[in-house]
């Protein structure tokens, strides 16, 4: 088996349950606060946005949560996804390390986002939701939810950050081909959008603003429209754990166990998806795998942000949560070409990072694209710029192993392909992409921009 490079699982190996890190995490979850009252939210507060079955999942403490058969049937269109050994990359690096990657880009929508889009659409459908709303930045989440809503015959409105909407016409076309309606945010369809346009007529938009618009439409729909979020929340991270559960079986097929598991982080869903099942093995079965989250130097919420209570969106309509944050009004440098532009980080992941159970690092975009091109030219697959953050760090770990001679086993999540990101590659290859730096002043100013919260005793 030593020359094997693909480790495949059959339909029958598709996980039957998601893994809930809340059952094993030693970190007590911080309360989630209503943005208006700053008091802990009630399920009723959340019910304007989400159906009750998803709210229940959000606060569940069971270790395993069964994947509904209707969801598994759709997962089978692309899952289990392949685990690959990057032998050609290893050879190019001259490293003794073994590099494995889990390839989520085989999903029809092109990324791991389908793993949560399908169950979210399913739970909404059975709860009686008639239409969904969402935001999308780089476009992966909007595409995934468009496919999922089509499968469950629900309408979908996608609010896409305007600058992405204009830069990525193919993403927009694909979302429309799946049957959803898509709008460049800020729009004049919401009071939040109209206010933003009144302030800045050619407003390029932001993820926080698009979230506010999608949430407003759902909240004011009289209950028949609900909102779907593609990252950050517990139930989203939960759905993504199919990645790590499969990877555990596949590493077993390969006869190895990873020393380090790597994933890029924006809100945290793809990293958590691959890492949490390995974290369970650390916490419960004595494994000692390093779990390494990679963020862009342009949006370094974990490595340079503040662990504090902050709003989930720029309009201060989303709940206040305790997380690593750059401030809810943070806008990443416009020279940053990839996604991963969210100002905060999943609260659950933030707690684990604060407790020292996972690690984080930040990488700069020219280094990321250099790694992306090396990966494309050795392994053939063009990665999404987001996923290339994980590749950069995997290569760095492999080069370190080359120096020390360590036969390290590296596993990273290749969360999506870059077929809709080729203009960024073109900019990089023609030398037009700049490195993304974040002034220190932006960091030091974070605390004063956070909401004042007095916690209940």
């Amino acid at each position: 088996m030593s020359d094997q490079i693909r480790f495949l699982l059959n339909d029958t190996d598709l996980p039957r349950a998601w893994y809930n890190i809340n059952a094993d995490s030693p970190v007590a979850p911080a309360p989630v606060l209503n943005p208006a009252t700053k008091e802990p939210v009630t399920p009723d507060d959340l019910a304007v946005l989400f159906p009750m079955n998803i709210i229940e999942q959000e606060v569940a403490t069971d270790r395993y949560i069964d994947i509904p058969e209707e969801v598994r049937e759709i997962y089978k269109l692309w899952r289990p996804t392949p685990l690959m050994r990057a032998r050609r990359l290893e050879k190019a690096l001259g490293t003794p390390a073994h590099i494995y990657y889990k390839y989520e880009g085989v999903s029809p929508s092109g990324s791991h986002k389908s793993n949560s889009a399908v169950p979210q659409a399913y739970y909404n459908k059975i709860a009686g939701t008639r239409a969904m709303t969402t935001e999308t930045g780089a476009g992966q989440w909007g595409t995934a939810l468009a496919m999922a809503c089509q499968f469950f015959e629900m309408d979908l409105e996608v609010y896409m950050v305007r600058v992405s909407y204009n830069q990525k016409p193919y993403r927009r076309n694909l979302i429309e081909t799946y049957g959803a309606r898509i709008f460049a945010s800020p729009t004049n369809r919401t009071s939040v959008g109209r206010a933003a346009l009144a302030q800045v007529p050619d407003n390029p938009g932001s993820l926080g603003l698009a979230i506010s618009e999608a949430a407003e439409v759902a909240a004011l729909s009289g209950g028949h429209k609900k909102y779907g979020l593609g990252s950050v929340l517990n139930h989203v991270l939960l759905h993504q754990t199919v990645i790590g559960e499969e990877a555990l079986k596949q590493m077993d097929l390969a006869g190895e166990y990873p020393d380090v598991v790597i994933g890029c982080v924006g809100g945290g869903s793809n990293f958590s998806g691959i890492a949490f099942p390995f974290l369970r093995e650390n916490l419960r079965n004595g494994q000692r795998t390093r779990l390494l989250a990679v963020e862009p130097a342009a949006t370094p919420s974990m490595t340079r942000g503040v662990y504090a209570f902050d709003y989930g969106d720029s309009a201060q309509m989303a709940p206040i949560v305790k997380m690593y944050t750059l401030g809810h009004d943070f806008i990443p440098p416009s020279i940053h070409a990839g996604g991963l532009r969210y100002h905060g980080m999943s609260p659950i992941l933030s707690g684990l990072y604060n407790a020292g159970l996972i690690e984080a690092t930040a990488v700069r975009q020219l280094d990321v694209f250099e790694a992306a091109v090396q990966f494309t030219r050795t392994e053939g697959i063009l990665p999404a710029p987001e996923s290339a953050h994980a590749i950069r760090t995997a290569i760095d770990e492999a080069l370190q192993a080359k120096e020390t001679g360590e036969k390290k086993v590296i596993l990273f999540n290749l969360s999506g392909h870059g077929h809709f990101d080729l203009s960024a590659y073109s900019s990089y290859l023609s030398g037009q992409l700049e490195d993304d730096a974040l002034p220190e002043a932006e960091i030091t100013a974070i605390p004063e921009r956070l909401p004042q919260v007095s916690l209940p005793a």
Copy 2:
């Protein structure tokens, strides 16, 4: 197993040999003629374009030709490709037919073209070729050869039909990311290109013209550059038979055998790739599978063209071969959005069609895009417009089975994804795509545009 929808094979099931239809075809191959002398070509005539190991493969008569280990190692990056049962499409159609598809879009370059690009680059590399040249229309072949040349560390020049070059910037970017150089054809780098530009300064280009340019560069390189063709020739069809060989094993896993095998045709390579192994079973083992080639109504070489000797390219530099042709100077209607624009058809496939061993049909583009959108919305995968010709016909076969109540087993080749074709989808969805009709006068005028050939006795 009745609810299984993916039929996967492991590395160990990857075919060890290509299947050569020439060993079993009852059709004697017609001579290939030198375009200048109109005498049968000699290996030396071809040697300015191809290395000798590929020329030998072109005329081989062995039934099986071993796949070199170096090629198999690269095939393993994406092969064996999945065979899928389109249960969601079946349900949407309400048909008793079982619809299977072989999905070649999982190749890193996005289509079946990699199956021939990798061995062509390999054989060139071991023959001492230092650089390759090629043309590309829709971009699938150029992308595949760019990846393959990068893997074998050879330079590549791609001549891309100008109208596609302008319409598909992402294809161009991807080819550059793989490390190749790409030019909008006609260029001023060749005498053929300069002549074309002198006649029509804003010449949109054609596949025939791009072939002429790529071939000229190789022919005048003094032997260190060779030319690679992505379809039509015997060795290209041979390389594609891995598709059908895998599909035979996978249909066996599914416990069924196809009544009809369907593929789209431009030059004929993806159809031949899936069909020839099933044709072998027809010819040698008494199976009676219908083999159905689908062409666009805009370039109906088999269904409305002439079976005659014609040039392979518009500049009359490529060999004269006997094939179904619309005339070497044929230019498809510009409203036609897909690829499959070649004026002729693989000679070997033409002979089999003329002998009644395969069938052909032509479909119109609005019907093709309707099928493509239905497939996207049921199965999730966005097909290449070329591949969607096969989907259209598979759906038509399934609807026919619904009328008759026949439990037909349909297998089609989904030769690639449509991630770089979204502007065509956008045109279709906004009602801007027209149906592509070909005036009868274009057909009746074909014979007078063919070269005069007097065959040796």
